[in-house]
Amino acid sequence: MSQFPTIYSITESEIDLNDLLTKITLTSTGAAAIFTGMVRGITSRGDAHETEYLEYESYVPMAEAKMKQVADEIREKWPVVEGIAIVQRVGKLYPKTPTVLIACTAAHRDTGVFDAARYGIDRLKEIVPVWKKEVGPNGEEWIEGDYIPKPGE
């Protein structure tokens, strides 16, 4: 269904939800599931700590190619999904600032569109080359994931 809009980008600019939503809303669209992640200033779960800011970086050309792959996987699993937007902001980002957004639209909300957005953010965190360095009162530390991509991913 290549006529459906797919947006994927790494950006240093503010993520504009309204603009993205407009771009992935068709006349046949009746539902959008949106996930956005933001910088958390105070973490209480697990290793409780405070965060001054996060510094995000990316291997941009590969990251955008892998975002497109995530979108392709979503379309394969949920053919009902109409528009897809996947945006990762990079740079120095302070608490409360949105850092990532994934939105999927569909005709109705009972089509799997929530699951599609959930899959998108989970997959992004597995295969899209983006890293963050956390800076807080006790110094700085790179946050690393633990997922090892398999051949073909």
Binding site: G37, Y56, E57, Y59, P61, M62, A65, K125, E126, I127, V128, P129, V130, W131, K132, K133, W142, I143, E144, G145, D146, Y147, I148, P149, P151, E153
Partner: protein
Amino acid sequence: MNRIKLLFFAAIRDRAGAKSIEMDIPSDMTILQLKEKLGADYPNLKESMKSVLVAVNREYAFDEAVVPSNAEIALFPPVSGGQ
């Protein structure tokens, strides 16, 4: 010999002290051998080579693969998690 360009990201770049380097490698060198060479040439990277991810021309690549000529090789830690 093959000329390759290596890109380093995140913690790997900090430890290497460079964003990118170019090097000549034997034309039959595998990804695993390349990681071993980097660990030997850059002692700061030795520990990182155990968990490093490698991309060849922007696709994930694995130990047994031979490094192609004129390739853009990227080395980086597992991508950022977080729940």
